[in-house]
Symmetry: C6
Subunit: 77 residues, 6 copies
């Protein structure tokens, strides 16, 4: 996982959102490095509304950071 | 899902709130891309007070970002 | 629910707090539009300490946004 | 509950912390206005580590707002 | 618990982190003032991964506030 | 654990992310200082999707702080 995060800058808000999703996933990988275990857990959380919403919460927190880093993708008037 | 987020700018706070709701939902779609599974989960979370409040929490986090991006929809004095 | 959020500006901190409570509730309504279902869920969460605290957390997140929008209701020195 | 929040300004950080505790509690009161029910729930959450930590989380969120409103109680160097 | 929080300023980031831990604990004490009950709950949460992570979340929220109060312990360029 | 946090400054966003992971872990160590107990808990949370996502949430909160401390690793235009 070398150089997976060279910058927080993205061209568009949508790319910024995708980066937030990535940022949310990496912490899971670092805490559970075994890909086999993660694959086993996948159905457990992808078919559970509570964990899906929790994932969305993590993405929201990272998106706030990415958006700020990009000055919300535009100058403020 | 191309170009679903061209900008964080909205004309009114209410539109900004609706954008926050959308931002909360997209992460769920990206984590569980199967629409059939999501439909199956819907009653589970839409009729559970805990998950409804959790959804509201994600919306609140995104609304903070959208509001900041719009300078709270007005100049500060 | 037209025009329920014309502005984030309020005259006092207390009105801002009430707006935060409203912001927390609207996301629940948008996710579960059926008023009858929401009424059925009400005792479930209003008599459960965990969900009451979760509601308070959502309000706290929105209050941060509303307070910032109002420059904390006063000029900083 | 008239005029319970005239200002976010406090003289000291400690008073600001106490205000954050108050802000956390009011949302619970507004969601469950029946004092008798709240009294009944009290042992349930005051003797449960999970809910005690959740209360602390709400306080932390409000404390961030109160601290910002008070410019962290001092000029920054 | 008089004068337990004279300032948010600390000399180093590490002291700021310790202050964040303290800020997280005080809310628990204020909500459950009985030291005996807290002692009884301690093993329950200190040996449960879910509550340990929840404590860490509260610390993270307070650390954000303390770090901002200290201008992140250095001037920004 | 002396001098484990000399600064919030990092050279790259990736190093900043790693620091956020560290910040999330230290609070767990301070709350449960017994390494043996922590080792015992490890499988419990590293093989549970809910706690893995909760860890990711704590990391997200700390990453926001570290990113702000580093001015998002670049000047804003």
């Amino acid at each position: 996982m070398t150089d997976w995060l060279p910058t927080l800058k993205t061209t568009t808000p949508e790319e910024g959102y995708n980066l937030a999703v990535k940022l949310a996933r990496v912490a899971v990988k670092l805490t559970q490095p075994d890909a086999e275990v993660r694959d086993r857990l996948r159905p457990e959380y992808a078919e559970n509304s509570g964990t899906l919403i929790a994932v969305s919460q993590v993405v929201a927190t990272h998106f706030a950071t990415v958006a700020a880093a990009n000055d919300y993708w535009q100058g403020k008037t």
